[in-house]
């Protein structure tokens, strides 16, 4: 009997310890990875393709942009950053690419792969209104240039349509 009780006691202690350690290891680093996972189905390419091919897409895009001036947003590094990286850390300080909260660093640190992009390129959004834009907004990368020109109605315009103004000419 004693051994049975002690077994139950031990098991419950272990369970509690596991629970506690689970709480401890809920890291701030997971924040942006969660953001990225939430956006996986909204990404410009399927997740498996992004995992294996994102660098070749970026390389292709950079040559097209530098040499030919092609500035589509589909595979642009700026757009990756705008969508996946927050301008600041949870405590409000600027989020840099060496930090474990940075979207690119979380994965690259795990696979031991150095990132050179951010020696030159901005490693976080400029904090403008384009940051983590909604899918379907006029400036989203999912649209090609032709669609971008057809701007979505603004909130004010939508409201104007939805609520007839008083005194409007009939």
């Amino acid at each position: 009997m004693t051994s049975k009780f002690s077994n139950i006691f031990l098991a419950s202690v272990l369970a509690l310890a596991t629970l506690l350690s689970g709480c401890d290891s809920a890291p701030a680093a997971g924040t942006n990875l969660e953001t990225a996972k939430q956006k996986a189905d909204q990404c410009v390419e399927p997740t498996d393709k992004m995992r294996s091919n994102h660098m070749s897409m970026l390389d292709h895009q950079r040559d097209a942009t530098m040499i030919e001036g092609i500035r589509t947003k589909q595979h642009s590094l700026n757009e990756c950053i705008n969508c996946h990286v927050a301008p600041t850390k949870d405590d409000g300080t600027p989020l840099r690419y060496g930090d474990d909260q940075h979207f690119c660093t979380t994965c690259h640190a795990a696979v031991g792969q150095k990132i050179d992009c951010f020696q030159c390129h901005a490693d976080r959004p400029a904090g403008d209104e384009n940051y983590q834009h909604k899918v379907g907004s006029a400036d989203a990368h999912h649209f090609t240039q032709g669609v971008v020109n057809a701007a979505m109605p603004t909130a004010a315009e939508v409201q104007m349509v939805a609520q007839p103004q008083q005194g409007a000419a009939q």
Partner: protein, 250 residues
């Protein structure tokens, strides 16, 4: 959305448009100038490559630059974020554009002018580059492809205008539209990111009365017409580089 609502939306929109037209009538010169500037640098579709149909250039009227071009240099600095390197000394710091003071030794006549990459048709920096990083785009903009630049600085030696500089230290917080980094050479790129979007270069916006930006290949562009009317000199025209940046009053 039913038809009535669409009509109402259109009506309100037209009313708002009437307000805009009234404002345009009040300040016609301003609106015309803005529209004109936008028309000169039409936005290129983002998915199309630049062609040699256009050749971008500018004419700087030094007689109209009251500050010798300091505002232009400041605008460039702000746009691209150069010049604040903390570990570099004065000779090492980046200078995409600088104000040069010229004095005639005989008459003591003196004036200042902004000097940056002159965007040559036959650029010596492109000739000497061992990796092809120093390049001229089809539309005449000369720039450094920093992805292939190895930092050898041959182009800095070759440039007769001392237009290029080298980044000596690690940088952080670069502008998203203007990547800069240690170990690469950099110079004025005629604000290529703005030109591709149909905007004027930052320095041209900073001195709209003194600088004309446009297409050198188009004889009817404002730039070509102004060049025809008042002329424009190249710095070191004797080198036969056919620069894209011209000056009046030097």
């Amino acid at each position: 959305m039913n038809q009535n609502r669409v009509d109402e939306y259109r009506r309100n929109f037209m009313t708002a448009l009437g307000g805009v037209a009234a404002v345009a009538a009040v300040a016609p010169s301003f609106v015309l100038q803005t529209a004109h500037a936008a028309g000169e640098v039409a936005a290129k579709p983002a998915d199309q490559a630049v062609t040699d149909a256009k050749r971008w250039g500018m004419l700087i009227d030094v007689t109209k630059l009251t500050d010798g071009g300091a505002a232009m240099v400041a605008a460039c600095k702000k746009e691209h974020g150069w010049g604040d390197e903390i570990h570099s000394d004065a000779t090492q710091k980046a200078h995409w554009a600088r104000v040069v003071k010229v004095t005639d030794k005989l008459t003591q006549n003196s004036f200042s002018l902004p000097v940056m990459c002159q965007h040559c048709e036959n650029p010596p920096c492109v000739d000497v580059c061992p990796t092809g990083a120093s390049m001229k785009r089809a539309d005449g903009i000369v720039q450094v492809n920093k992805h292939t630049c190895i930092g050898c600085r041959y182009c800095m030696m070759a440039c007769p205008y001392k237009a290029r500089s080298f980044v000596h230290e690690h940088l952080i917080d670069q502008k998203a539209h203007s990547p800069r980094g240690i170990g690469t050479v950099e110079s004025c790129n005629m604000c290529v990111h703005r030109v591709d979007n149909g905007q004027l270069p930052a320095c041209v916006e900073a001195a709209p009365d003194a600088v004309t930006f446009g297409d050198l290949n188009d004889p009817n562009s404002t730039l070509s017409q102004t060049l025809k009317a008042i002329g424009g000199k190249q710095i070191r025209a004797d080198l036969g580089l056919n620069t894209g940046v011209r000056y009046h009053g030097i």
